[in-house]
Symmetry: C2
Subunit: 429 residues, 2 copies
């Protein structure tokens, strides 16, 4: 079958999946959980082959660590599925109900987005999490995982797919891509795919965003900032900066640029330099910074660089508004933090910085669905439409307007024969 036809079949399945009840979708999730546990030996075997191949191919340690799918990962994902079955149905929720006139009732009711394409890194547990979120939210999903996880993903997909079919969900609710070349074909399917969620490198996400008419949710780069205010508690500032830089250096929510109020640079920078040296972080700085501590001279390019490495660039600012302007201009609207003991300064910063996450006195590394208590997430969005920040179940839901009439025509209202009376009704399911 041609690729586009296969995707069209997924599109055709979408309304059918959208009409399933929470009980049906929960039963499918339970079946998925049981099937994963029952077939765990096969999954671990497939994963071992992927790991062996990755080692033979010289794949880096961190990537192999993410690739590993063992008892611990299985426990985590099956626990995640159990949690999802306990959650309230995200669909068929009446957001508001209003009687427009006698016998003419408008309701806004939640429904799935439809068909979601997710392109994700070589992490087999991500395949399970994303599939489970899409089943719970009634969305059809087209999955493309990193190639290093090919065998693990194929095994996991087959087990999940069979389980949902046995549980009575449409067979075309799920589709898996295996070849990288299929990504480009997927990008052309704007008539069938409602949303793309790409995860991965900046360049990859940018490529996706620039080569499709399908709406894209996600983030390309993550240039996060910490601004140390003149009213900062420096005993808090140093550990927060070190954590935000080094706790996981290749994450999107890692700090890349430090902005220091000039009034406190002489106290902060020497303390910070010592702490960064202990973690082998290279400090780059402007002349003002270099006047206080030893550092590599920074250039304008540093303002725009996501290092994903043990490098931090620092510059001084005359006041908070200069810091805010810098962040809004050079940042990626992901997560930015102010260190201050002054609540008014914090509120000013948080209201004016145009980012998905605006923090006071804590590490930028907290920007994560799990740490926000959302359970699993499908990604982090730096866009301002629909979902922003970490995206969980709620971000996979849309709504439709249902209007129940008894023969009403518009001409009666346009001519003045009838009038709307707009009475809000109590929400009901």
């Amino acid at each position: 079958m041609l690729f586009q036809e296969q995707v069209r079949k997924v599109k055709q399945a979408a309304p059918k999946l959208a009409a399933t009840t929470n009980e049906q979708r929960n039963a499918a999730l339970t079946a998925v959980r049981e099937a994963l546990l029952q077939h765990q030996a096969e999954i671990f075997e497939a994963n071992k082959q992927d790991l062996a191949q990755a080692e033979a191919d010289g794949v880096s340690g961190p990537v192999r660590k993410r690739l590993k799918f063992d008892e611990g990962k299985l426990r985590d994902v099956t626990a995640g599925i159990s949690d999802l079955t306990k959650m309230e149905d995200p669909l068929f929720q009446t957001q508001f109900a209003r009687e427009l006139d006698e016998g003419l009732v408008l309701k806004r009711v939640t429904c799935p987005i439809g068909v979601i394409g997710v392109i994700f890194e070589a992490r087999p547990d991500a395949l399970v999490q994303i599939s489970a979120l899409c089943i719970k939210s009634g969305n059809c999903v087209i999955l493309k995982g990193g190639r290093e996880a090919l065998r693990s993903n194929k095994k996991l997909f087959d087990i999940i797919h069979e389980a949902i079919i046995d549980a009575g969900l449409p067979a075309d609710s799920m589709m898996q891509l295996e070849a990288r070349s299929e990504i480009n074909e997927l990008l052309e399917c704007h008539e069938s795919v409602d949303l793309l969620i790409p995860r991965g490198s900046n360049a990859f996400v940018q490529y996706i965003m620039n080569h499709t008419k399908i709406p894209v949710m996600g983030h390309a780069d993550g240039i996060c900032h910490i601004y140390v205010d003149k009213d900062a508690d420096l005993a808090k500032a140093v550990p927060i900066i070190v954590d935000a830089k080094t706790q996981y250096v290749s994450a999107c929510n890692t700090v890349e640029t430090l902005l220091v109020h000039e009034a406190i640079k002489d106290q902060l920078l020497p303390m910070l330099k010592e702490a960064l040296d202990a973690k082998k972080v290279e400090l780059r700085g402007t002349k003002d910074v270099a006047a206080v501590v030893d550092c590599v001279p920074s250039t304008e390019a540093d303002d725009k660089t996501e290092y994903l490495d043990y490098i931090l660039s620092a510059k001084t600012v005359k006041n908070m508004d200069e810091a805010i302007d810098h962040i809004n201009h050079f940042g990626s609207h992901h997560t930015d933090c102010i260190i201050t003991e002054n609540p008014d300064a914090a509120e000013h910063f948080m209201n004016l910085v145009d980012s998905a996450g605006v923090y006071q006195n804590c590490s930028t590394r907290f920007a994560d669905g799990y740490r926000y208590g959302f359970g699993a997430e499908v990604g982090i969005s730096t866009g301002k439409l629909h979902a922003r920040g970490p995206v969980g179940l709620e971000g996979l839901v849309s709504y439709k307007y249902k209007l129940y009439g008894t023969g009403q025509i518009v001409d009666d209202y346009a001519s003045g024969k009838k009038q709307f009376h707009f009475k809000n009704l109590a929400n009901e399911r």
Copy 2:
């Protein structure tokens, strides 16, 4: 100043406007209302010149009617502004608050989208409505109205702009484009503009969607359907179909295709034909339809055509699912209706049809922000992300996550030294 630089200034004003209070924005709206009333003679004079020019240029009657801005229109828009000032602040609303751990509080708080570009038809009252919605929601706006309204729009923009500056809002909160060529320049400004809302012809909206990286909210075509079920009350069906077709023939929510359950075609079609003839509507039909009533033979092209004219295409279906498949395949996900007395059939149709509006027993012409009781609307969206259907104030709002800490670092949680406790807090402003 270069165009891109001007737009960048609007972007820079956005965080400042976002930080204004409801009182400041309401005061600006009141100032706008007073300025419009005070300068009404100048506005009417500019509008008279536009109308004279339009007549000289042979612009059609309906377009000239929309172009007219008289006492009645002024009364409507100033009343709309008064209503907006009475509405609750859409910004700074805490959607949820959660203590992640002792002294670490997460809040999700509404904020403006940022910079919105609106390209709209030659309707001076639309300029006032859109400006007022953007002021209330703290969004900067770049306006481009239809060229026939050039003088009226310039006058209105200058009055509104001066009023908001006097009221203390940033001067760069608003910008007006006058030349059509500037639209293409605007489409390039994806680094400064957060959202485009184009209104106008199908081809125009499609052009915008295909030539920019800026997210676009709106709809291109509006191919709306009415499905007459076997359990329909035909006494309701006929007036609803006639209203949906003829009440305002060039609107996007006008019905274009009628799907008739074959079990009732012999009763419905002759009644309908008589009613359509009385309104001079051309009926096009498949062979099955032609076997019952006189009609122009329809072709496959009719399934995909938005006539915007006194033409209705009709075909028969064997059952409801065939109607649903037809609508999901050929429709534009705008507004589709079922005529039936059977509530289960209605619910099935409404759950499976993938459209912003799904109706039972009423005219598709009800799809409109005013008729839904939303007050003014900026447009109707057929996309499924962010706002769907008629878009009012709520659709112009995003949110950000504010995280208030007291020195927390992620490493303490990753190492197991500390645990999150996720306590939801009562919402507060």
